[in-house]
Amino acid sequence: MNVLLDYLPEFRDGFLGTLAITASSGLLALVLGVLIAGFRVSPIPPLRAFGTGWVTVLRNTPLTLLFLVAFFVVPQILFQGASPFVLATLALGFYTSSFVCEAVRSGINTVPLGQAEAARSIGMTFTQTLRLIVLPQATRTVLAPLSSILIALTKNSAIAGAFSFAELFSVSKLLNDKGYTVAWIFLWTALGYLVITFSISGLFRLLERRMGVAR
């Protein structure tokens, strides 16, 4: 009990750190994921191949390895001296984007055939069909998997704590090193994550209710 009260500022900073890294990498993952999903269904072969390769490689790479890549290989190519926040966002965002891409793609597949056919028959191009007709309707089915992907992202963000970014895991590490009871630290950190994951699932339930259409 005392651990939380004694180290409230640390816990607060850690919580905000987790929140920040989740939000930024979630945003990156959403943008990239939708873009790559567009690539994967596009009429242009190299883009399709790129999308497939992207998803296959990123989905089968351990996230810890991606963190190593972001922290040791990426600076060799770009972004020298970038903050751990930026690098961790890159690793988490890229990793999660492959899952977002797959969710969006299966969402696109649930939109009835007639919709895309109708869009084409009134002369819409591929981009128009996707942007105006298919994606808005796919959103509804994508919401549910998206919520669990973001929850997984929140939990994965703990790895950023091991790579010198201040968030909840690094707080728990710090307090463990100071010799406090493991069980309490574990419970309080878990509570911090639970707050975020419950808010995410609540937010998505709200969104689903607002966007849901009885079919």
Binding site: P43, T64, Q76, E102, R120, T125, A144
Partner: protein, 311 residues
């Protein structure tokens, strides 16, 4: 919608020409990106032959081999234990004895909600504090922390997968079994679980891929599996005044991707095989994102049975 071709018309002459232009532009952009990365790495001397020559060193090779073996060892132990725990938890959660079911439910929900890394770290700290009384020496605490963490987390997820599978078995099966006079245990063990496992095999294997990927968390608790070995080698081996992160990470990355791809293609193969046969309940899809908590979404997509309620 099979194949995305419904999203665009069959290209005519103009569209074909346009697509060809985009194809060229797209390939050029991709090649440009690759060439940029290549040139940057080259200018930093990361692609020099001497740098890559380290893989001809016997020590490096044994290091990588030992790393792979340790990773596979952790994976094997954790996979077996998590499947056992998963079966146990699934049955316990479906138990008619309220306390048992309540206990299993809270266990599953707690450990599914907590990041795996936090669990592993907490177990590690606990084991380290009690290493003498537990008789763990060397890398024992790390190994068991990793195994226990993976087991607890993946066991919870596998339990949910299995429970969804059990719930997807048509009620007639259960009723028929009871009508024959089978006991609760018999119904569960000989009727429900075999069908559930069969239907959920692709999802179970996809979760095993997650287990395999998560063994790399051992890196953070300084357990000498593949990733940690790689990191150590790349810091220790200095070629031309540079550390060797780039080659070592590229090689270990390929090993990881290869191992995971092999397992996922097994899941996909079983799914395709299951779809061909027409007996029993439908086989769940393997390709769904089974990152962590979303095993249930896959399970709910199983046709032919009442989807398990989850909240």
């Amino acid at each position: 919608m099979s194949g995305a071709s419904v999203l665009y018309d069959v290209p005519g002459r103009k569209a074909k020409a346009r697509n060809r232009v985009y194809t060229v532009l797209g390939s050029l952009a991709l090649l440009g990106l690759l060439a940029f990365a290549f040139l940057r790495l080259n200018s930093r001397g990361q692609l020099d032959p001497e740098v890559w020559n380290i893989f001809n060193n016997a020590g490096v090779r044994t290091g990588i081999r030992d790393g792979v073996l340790t990773t596979l060892q952790v994976f094997a132990v954790a996979a077996v234990l998590s499947l056992a725990l998963g079966a146990l938890l699934a049955v316990a959660r479906l138990s008619v004895h309220k306390p048992v079911s309540w206990l299993a439910t809270s266990f599953i929900e707690l450990f599914r909600a907590v990041p795996l890394l936090i669990t592993i770290y907490a177990v590690w700290v606990t084991l380290l504090a009690n290493r003498d009384s537990l008789g763990l020496g060397g890398s024992g605490p790390q190994f068991w922390a990793l195994v226990i963490g993976l087991t607890v987390y993946n066991g919870a997820v596998q339990a949910e997968v299995l429970r969804a599978g059990i719930n997807a078995v048509p009620t007639g099966q259960r009723e028929a079994a009871y009508a024959l006079g089978m006991s609760k245990t018999q119904v569960m063990v000989t009727v429900l679980i075999p069908q559930a496992v069969r239907a959920m095999l692709p999802t179970i294997i996809s979760q095993l891929v997650v287990t395999l990927k998560d063994t790399s968390l051992g890196y953070i608790i300084t357990f000498e599996e593949l990733l940690f070995t790689a990191r150590q080698m790349s810091t220790n081996i200095i070629v031309n005044g540079n550390d060797t992160y780039v080659p070592v990470i590229i090689v270990t990355g390929s090993i990881y991707v290869g191992m995971c791809l092999a397992l996922s293609s097994l899941a996909n193969w079983i799914e395709r095989r299951g779809r061909r046969t027409r007996t029993g309940i439908a086989v769940a899809s393997a390709g769904e994102p089974v990152t962590a908590a979303d095993a249930m979404e896959v399970a709910e997509a199983v046709p032919g049975g009442p989807a398990a309620k989850q909240d």
